[in-house]
């Protein structure tokens, strides 16, 4: 009995079928609580005005965009090292969700930038590195779609994810070096001094949890789809051969 048992497609399908309703319910509750709380029951901020409400979607989506890539890196490594198919398929399933999160962070940031900085877009390091992250997502998804053989696609996208991660970090550094920028520092630090006040902080926590749970639900659903489509492919190929 080890954790790797869940990498077995059959076991995974059973467990995820059981877990999915729970996660769905939990995700709906936290997300709705957080967003409603944030949108309706928070005051204006001195420096941001009512635009501060954007933070409840901007920050969680930005965090998820990064975290999903990290999750894809981990699952890709598991595939490359231990050859568990579900792991590779989970990475495949997560990528479009990550792309959507990146897009949400970009759009909400751009919409926020217009009143705050007077411009939709600024070549700020954090913004720029998000654009590059979006490109990595696009390339990763396009590579999956371009290759017919699923195992080949899993291997190649895994290698791309690995190399891409290194270069995403490198770009982050390069972009910092190239432009100083306007964007907020990390105010979610443990350092109480820099932290946002509690009025904004608690609903934000709910939103972050909601986005995480939403991501889990989506990845489970999509991974289940990928497992099924993989099985469908195998059955079709076997029928062709027979």
């Amino acid at each position: 009995m080890s954790i790797w048992e869940y990498a077995n497609p059959k076991k995974f399908m059973q467990t995820s079928a059981w877990a999915l309703p729970w996660f769905t319910g939990l995700a709906a509750i936290t997300l709705v609580t957080g967003l409603v709380w944030g949108f309706f029951f928070t005051p204006e901020a001195a420096n941001f005005g009512t635009t501060v409400k954007i933070i409840y979607i901007h920050v969680p989506s930005a965090m998820m965009a990064i975290n999903i890539w990290v999750m894809m890196l981990v699952t890709s490594l598991i595939w490359l090292i231990r050859r568990h198919h579900v792991s590779a398929l989970a990475a495949k399933a997560a990528a479009p969700v990550g792309l959507v999160m990146t897009l949400i962070a970009l759009f909400t940031g751009a919409i926020w930038g217009q009143p705050m900085w007077g411009t939709w877009w600024e070549w700020d390091p954090r913004l720029t590195s998000f654009l590059i992250l979006g490109l990595f997502y696009l390339g990763y998804i396009a590579l999956w779609q371009a290759i017919d053989n699923p195992d080949t696609a899993a291997d190649l996208t895994g290698v791309l994810c690995l190399v891409g991660s290194v270069f995403a970090l490198l770009s982050r550094y390069a972009v910092n070096f190239w432009n100083q920028g306007l964007h907020q520092g990390a105010s979610l630090s443990v350092d109480k001094q820099e932290n946002v006040s509690d009025v904004y902080w608690y609903p934000l926590l709910f939103c972050i949890a909601g986005f995480i749970l939403l991501f889990i639900v989506l990845v489970l659903v999509r991974t289940r789809t990928e497992v099924r489509s993989r099985r469908l492919k195998a059955l079709e190929a076997r029928e062709r051969l027979a």
């Binding site: 590059i132 490109l135 990595f136 696009l138 390339g139 396009a142 590579l143 371009a146 290759i147 053989n149 080949t152 291997d155 190649l156 290698v159 791309l160 690995l162 190399v163 891409g164 270069f167 995403a168 490198l170 770009s171 550094y173 390069a174 972009v175 070096f177 190239w178």
Partner: protein
């Protein structure tokens, strides 16, 4: 390995201009930009380093799909994979051949194109330095992207999409090096970073590329 390098260079020459065509493309980009942007010297001089780097990068990019495609189509890649040369060496040699036919001519010809864009005087030195140090990384990263897409029908545009984000750090440090150099600023950091990226990619990326090719040949 030397045999492979010589063969690749000979093929590039016989195919009618490994050297010529990438230079011509570089030339055309540097010619088009003034048409698009307008002819004022001031603006052009301001953007010249960046445009020259972007042009070099695109010229490099467009020739990437030749790295393995022909060898894959006619079966040479299968035979090379079973030959007593490690795939890592094959990849490195092919990246080197690509650099010799694409990057090196660009490095040598860049000052001429700089004139077309009114590049200011002190920038020429740094233009050549930054291209010379940076373009090998472009070739190696391109060889990696080409390895990922070898055997895909019309992988060309996909290849661009995969490779371009990998080119970003090289591009930033390359253009920054020229900008700082010609403004008399401190050049140590961008130069070190550029050299570091090139050294690290040349040392490590061939392993990833070789793995990708082996997977694609399966």
């Amino acid at each position: 390995m030397i045999a492979l390098l010589l063969r690749d260079l000979r093929l590039a020459v016989r195919a009618g201009g490994g050297f010529g065509l990438s230079l011509a493309f570089f030339l055309i980009v540097t010619v088009l930009v003034p048409f698009g942007v307008g002819p004022e010297g001031g603006t052009l001089a301001r953007i010249a380093p960046g445009i020259l780097w972007v042009g070099a990068l695109l010229a490099c990019l467009l020739s990437l799909d030749r790295i393995y495609a022909l060898d894959f189509e006619d079966g040479s890649l299968d035979l090379l994979a079973t030959a007593p040369i490690p795939m890592e060496a094959v990849v490195s040699v092919k990246a080197l051949a690509h650099w010799l036919t694409t990057g090196l001519p660009l490095v040598l010809a860049a000052p001429v194109f700089g004139v077309l864009l009114h590049l200011p005087g002190p920038a020429y030195f740094w233009l050549v330095i930054s291209l010379a140090v940076g373009t090998p990384a472009l070739s190696v990263l391109g060889a990696f992207g080409a390895a990922l897409t070898v055997g895909l029908k019309r992988g060309g545009l996909l290849l661009s999409l995969l490779v371009l984000p990998l080119y970003v750090p090289t591009l930033i440090f390359g253009a920054e090096l020229i900008a700082r150099g010609s403004a008399g600023g401190a050049t140590a950091t961008p130069l070190l970073m550029l050299a570091g990226i090139t050294a690290a990619t040349v040392a490590l990326v061939p392993f990833a590329a070789a793995a990708a090719i082996r997977v694609n040949l399966r």
